[in-house]
């Protein structure tokens, strides 16, 4: 115990001596939590629109001003011909071209129907499909409110169409803002970086500098050395998690709906799992560059597949399976459920079980590997 205490003392001394790391530990949660959720928004806005109006009637003017006032579109140009409007798309200056044909108003009044052309730049698939459907919705709304249609549906006309009107109610995130989705996920990302990567780099550094040689010939036992490495990062992780929760509350007013105790319980066990992961990386790598590269590889996969930005449920089956094999996925799910929905332990006990299993497997594997190599 005395040796372990001294190892911890040494470890903390080294961590606090490295000013860059300390600064990063406190900068990271604050900066990431403040900047990322504000900058990243999956809601599609500011779709650049190029319009070809060949009718120049009052109806076409009404349609254009309706589109313009919706707030989603930014008019880039008015072109006399479709060909010229398409040039804007080619130059990436417009995302959508709306073409109103000649005789738009006349055909609407006389024949009760008229086609408009929509051409969408589909390089950014999300923007294209969402932008296209916005325009569709606006045009549908426009037709519904046309004077001529309203006249046609006077009470005398019994053939009025019946239709289903859908009303939405958004739960747990009333304004359906992306930040509520993102913020809990970033908290998890922070823990992963500190627990998984900082710890692995630290252990590999001992290998690289050669100090592990000196430790190996001393009576320090391997479990003491490993615990001496993991405990400081566990504590750091909990501190950064707390800091992150404070930032959430100060900046976004997000206070956990569920119990804080439950959140910390999960954080504690999740950290053990990722620390095992960090230890595993360190047993595979001989130097910090290798460890860095490995860590970066997994970080990319974790960030993009762990359900941080996109929903795991909407992934293809195989991808969902991979995603479920990563501890980060489960912890992100739990943090969202507890923080935003106020879920209790009973709701997330399956995830708790998963995290325990990950902890056992990763740590067991790492220790087995560590014994073999050193």
């Amino acid at each position: 115990m005395k040796i372990l205490r001294f190892l911890l003392q040494k470890e903390f001394r080294q961590i606090f001596r490295d000013k860059t790391i300390i600064a990063m530990m406190f900068m990271m949660p604050t900066v990431q939590l403040i900047i990322l959720p504000l900058a990243m928004d999956l809601e599609v806005k500011n779709i650049s629109l190029s319009i070809v109006d060949r009718d120049h009637s009052s109806y076409s003017q009404q349609l254009i001003s309706k589109v313009g006032s919706s707030g989603y579109f930014k008019m880039v140009s008015m072109e006399p011909s479709y060909k010229e409007a398409l040039k804007y798309v080619e130059r990436d200056e417009a995302d959508v071209v709306l073409e109103i044909p000649a005789g738009f108003e006349r055909n609407l009044i006389r024949e009760g129907k008229q086609k408009v052309g929509l051409s969408v730049d589909a390089i950014d698939g999300t923007k294209a499909s969402i932008g296209g459907s916005y325009l569709n919705a606006i045009i549908a709304d426009f037709t519904a409110n046309l004077e001529i249609n309203n006249k046609a549906t006077t009470p005398t006309n019994y053939t009025s169409k019946s239709f289903i009107d859908v009303t939405y109610s958004t739960w747990f995130n009333p304004l359906a803002q992306f930040k509520y989705y993102l913020v809990p996920g970033i908290l998890v990302l922070l823990l992963t970086m500190i627990g998984g990567f900082l710890s692995s780099l630290n252990i590999v550094r001992e290998k690289e500098v050669g100090t592990i040689e000196q430790i190996n010939v001393s009576p320090i036992k391997k479990w003491q050395f490993i615990l001496g490495k993991l405990i400081p990062f566990w504590i750091m992780g909990i501190i950064v998690f707390t800091l992150g929760l404070v930032v959430c509350w100060l900046i976004y007013g997000i206070v956990s709906e569920g119990s804080l105790l439950l959140l910390y319980l999960f954080a504690a066990f999740y950290l053990i799992a990722v620390l095992g992961f960090g230890l595993l990386i360190s047993t595979i790598s001989d130097n910090q560059i290798q460890a860095m590269f490995l860590a970066f590889f997994f970080m990319m996969i974790f960030t993009l597949m762990g359900g941080l930005f996109t929903s795991v449920e909407s992934m293809p089956d195989w991808a969902r399976n991979i995603s479920n094999l990563m501890p980060i996925t489960h912890f992100i799910r739990v943090v969202r459920m507890v923080m935003l929905k106020g879920s209790g332990f009973a709701d997330v006990q399956l995830e708790f079980f998963y995290i325990i299993v990950f902890g056992v497997i990763l740590n067991g594997w790492a220790i087995w590997n560590y014994r073999k190599t050193a």
Partner: protein, 309 residues
């Protein structure tokens, strides 16, 4: 009982493709200052790693302080002080913190064995609060030696402690080793510098993983079996190439101011023979004499014999 003993130790790397240690056996007596002398890549570090129990030999047995390196490695770790060839203390901790850390690891304190390290520690203690990474090479060596000594080891294993250290610090370092020997500590030290071999009580010459000879430095020199000639001229390089083409010369190699020459058949007037030959090829101011062999000459002799073998 011998402090260190190796019997038929083999070690290969790369699935047997690289032979690092080839059937090495030698013993170091208690209280002895023993040198392991050989060029880079001779297998010195592998031997040290086997003795410090961090590397397992493929074949053979070894013991340190009477304990087997495989079965009783825990007992060895408390009794051995090891200083690796590469500086491997915590660069971001200060001198004092490093020393305290290693003292605690061995369940002791700086004060407990202070008299052992006093002479060395006094030289670096003015810089107690300086981080180890910011020390000069010589000071780093002294700190590393202090850390290796802090638990009063029975056996001190020093892997190339003087490599990359200036001449003054090297001399100081050897003086310190002599002091430690006075206190009854067995020291096994490796070095690539032949001139340091004379400072050891006994030495083992090692090359390509094989032990060439284990003897006292005096006996190794005495055992040199042939007459050694030294030669120089205005153009040493030309002289050397000329001698190498001479049928009567067994070997010729450069060594400082005078090159060394060994002839095939001993002859009372070999000197005139060599001189005449050299002058015939236009070498001027040729000077040839008989010279007493050094450890280095012996090493070259033995390794050439080994190569022809």
């Amino acid at each position: 009982m011998d402090a260190v003993s190796l019997k038929n130790i083999h070690k290969t790397y790369d699935k047997g493709n690289v032979i690092a240690v080839d059937d090495v056996s030698f013993d170091v007596k208690k209280g002895e200052l023993f040198g392991l002398i050989g060029p880079d890549g001779a297998g010195k570090t592998s031997i040290f790693r086997i003795l410090t129990t961090v590397l397992l030999a493929d074949k053979g047995s070894a013991s340190v302080a009477g304990f087997d390196v495989v079965k009783e490695y825990r007992a060895i770790r408390n009794r051995v002080g090891y200083m690796p060839g590469k500086f491997s203390l915590y660069q971001d901790l200060t001198i004092k913190e490093n020393l305290e850390f290693f003292a605690t690891v061995f369940d002791t304190s700086i004060e407990e064995n202070y008299d052992l390290i006093k002479n060395i520690y006094d030289q670096i203690s003015p810089f107690n609060d300086r981080r180890a990474g910011k020390l000069s090479g010589g000071m780093k060596q002294k700190l590393a030696l202090c850390c290796a000594l802090i638990h009063k080891p029975e056996v001190l294993l020093l892997d190339e402690p003087t490599t990359g250290v200036d001449a003054v610090s090297r001399k100081e370092f050897w003086d310190m080793l002599k002091d430690l020997k006075q206190q009854g500590i067995t020291i096994l030290v490796s070095t690539p510098y032949m001139d340091e071999a004379n400072l050891c009580e006994r030495i083992a010459l090692i090359q390509n993983g094989k032990i060439l000879s284990v003897e006292t430095p005096e006996n190794i020199v005495k055992a040199f079996p042939v007459t050694l000639y030294a030669a120089k001229s205005d153009n040493n390089y030309k002289l050397l190439t000329d001698f190498r083409n001479f049928d009567a010369v067994a070997s010729a190699y450069a060594s400082g101011e005078y090159m060394r020459i060994i002839v095939k058949d001993e002859h009372p007037d070999s000197i005139t023979l060599l001189k005449d030959y050299a002058e015939k090829f236009g070498n001027r101011n040729v000077e040839i004499k008989i010279i007493a062999p050094t450890i280095e000459d012996n090493f070259i002799w033995l390794s050439q014999k080994e190569a022809n073998h």
